[in-house]
Amino acid sequence: MTRLGLLAAGFKRHRLRLLLTGLSIVVAFLLFGVLVAVRQAFAAGVSVAGRDRLVVRHRISIIQLLPESYEAEMEKLPGVVDATPASWFGGIYQDPKNFFGQFPVKPEEYLRMYPEFRLPPEQKAAWLATRTGAVAGRKLADRFHWKVGTRIPIQPTIWIPKKDSSWQFDLVGIYDGAQKETDTSRFLFRQDYFEENRRFASGMIGWYYIRVADPKRAAAVAQSIDDHFTNSSAETKTETEGAFAQGFANQMGNIGAIVTAILSAVFFTILLVAGNTMAQTVRERTQELGVLKALGFSNAEVLAMVLGESCLLAGTAGLIGLGLGFALAAGGDPTGGYLPNFMFPAKDLLLGAALILLLGVAAGALPALQAMRLRTVDALRRE
């Protein structure tokens, strides 16, 4: 037998209580895994946003459109290197639950704006040569098992085509992301094809992406763009891409704050549950702890033993929960496309491990101190 064996032996008593406490810790850390993945999904747009990219939208809201003439005007403004349009298409592929973002864009400009979207040269050439051509991110293509050459019909919800009842696209390319967090769930097709075939709002654009020469001057450039269009028929609101993504996510609420609040409540509850279990354990084993002290175990060793038991419980159950959460997140977006960046960030694994340790120490601290302070003769007398 080792000292660790002595700790583990403590788990043999009150197995049901231990199992229930352990399960509650497992569930807490599973929830932790899922919630940090949700937070990551909402924050991904912010974290990968280019520091030198701005988004220009209508001042009133993103659903108000801007004239296509703004692109050329903005490119003339000082500090602006490049500008390219994009719009929200909002179509349905086969079933409304198959949600993914679709955007009409100008291929060359857009790929220049997003160098982190890696499209093979021959596929880029095919896109430029094919009016109905579209490219999809790797994650999206894998989700629907699309291959280059697949014909993709999209039912419109906003943009009714002039002739047919649905839009037809030919998949000519699949792009990969330069980083793990790069969004590879977009569906991009040609602005000119969109412009020719939509029934209304001709010459209008959803928003513009702008590349600035100096990221440090991004705020000044944004202000100069908004100033330029003041008192026009379509005034603008320009912000960094990160702020735009954050604002988009915040339409559903402050996800980070909500996740933090839920996790705080869960961990406080779990701390009480685990702390209560440890306190009961020490209370029931007072006489045994007295025996250990009588045999020669010091106060510090008894303290370490109770703390060790608490940490072993929190560690075993917490790691199982964290592992399950990690595995669940590794399975990808469970919402069918609404959270394309649903993943468990590596830094949150460290946070989870730190929380496990903190839970073990915090739950065991008071009972351990109680055990340490026990007078041997009093403990031996306890029935």
Binding site: A9, L295, G296, A300, T376, V377
Partner: protein, 245 residues
């Protein structure tokens, strides 16, 4: 019960036991019960020669268990000094006192106080976790101690699978596994029938007689006390009578 003592580390003693192992001088012990102060021991003096089997008798509350606790370093006197093996143990720090107990004292309890989730062998091994012995050495020591109490065949059993007498023998094996100088037994036969109790007393006698262990036993039972080499009676926190068994 046959007692076989053949462990090489428990050296048989053939010479006389003249040297004093434990010396208690002017020891008082007070307890506070609310506003009231209870004087459990009142200026008690005692000398216990090395290798003696001493029985302490007396009514409940006479202070015999308190004296035993002081001898074992489980408690500290309110006044006076307790010296065991040349070490004044009432002056040791908590940590040093714990280490001293682990090295020099074996404790036998009335209700055995075995850890219910550990097998007999693991219960016996507990005090050895505080020593630098390797796992193999510990295993050998445990086997020897269990053989000494004739329970090697029950090594893997949990306490609840053992009879009262067997549990007490495991308790004795745990007390002697570190080869301590002093064995303190608090009512070791108090929870056992006469025949089983006699077996336990045989063991304690043999430890003192054949292996030179100093055994101090607290008991209510005159029959048990009669097995000791010397019997001391305690009344109101003082030694009243001394008689040879």
């Amino acid at each position: 019960m046959t007692v076989s003592m053949s462990h090489p580390s428990l050296v048989p003693v053939t010479a006389g036991h003249s040297a004093t192992l434990a010396r208690v001088r002017g020891v008082a012990k007070d307890f506070r019960r609310g506003a009231e102060v209870v004087h459990v021991l009142r200026g008690l003096d005692l000398e216990v020669p090395r290798g003696e089997f001493l029985a302490l008798m007396g009514p409940s509350g006479s202070g015999k268990s308190t004296l035993l606790n002081l001898l074992g370093g489980l408690d500290r006197p309110s006044a006076g000094s307790v010296e065991v093996g040349g070490e004044q143990i009432d002056r040791l720090s908590e940590r040093a006192l714990a280490r001293w107990r682990a090295r020099h004292v074996g404790l036998v309890f009335q209700f055995y106080n075995l850890l219910p989730v550990l097998s007999a062998a693991k219960n016996v091994e507990l005090p050895l976790l505080l020593t630098p012995l390797s796992r193999a050495q510990r295993k050998r020591q445990v086997a020897t101690a269990l053989a000494l109490v004739e329970l090697e065949h029950r090594a893997g059993h949990l306490p609840r699978q053992l009879s009262g007498g067997e549990q007490q023998r495991v308790g004795i094996a745990r007390a002697i596994v570190t080869d301590p100088t002093l064995i303190l037994a608090d009512e070791p036969t108090g929870d056992l029938d006469r025949k089983t109790g006699d077996g336990i007393l045989d063991l304690l006698s043999a430890l003192s007689r054949d292996h030179g262990k100093t055994v101090v036993m607290v008991t209510h039972d005159p029959h048990a006390a009669g097995r000791a080499g010397r019997v001391l009676h305690m009344v109101d926190g003082q030694l009243s009578t001394e008689m040879a068994a």
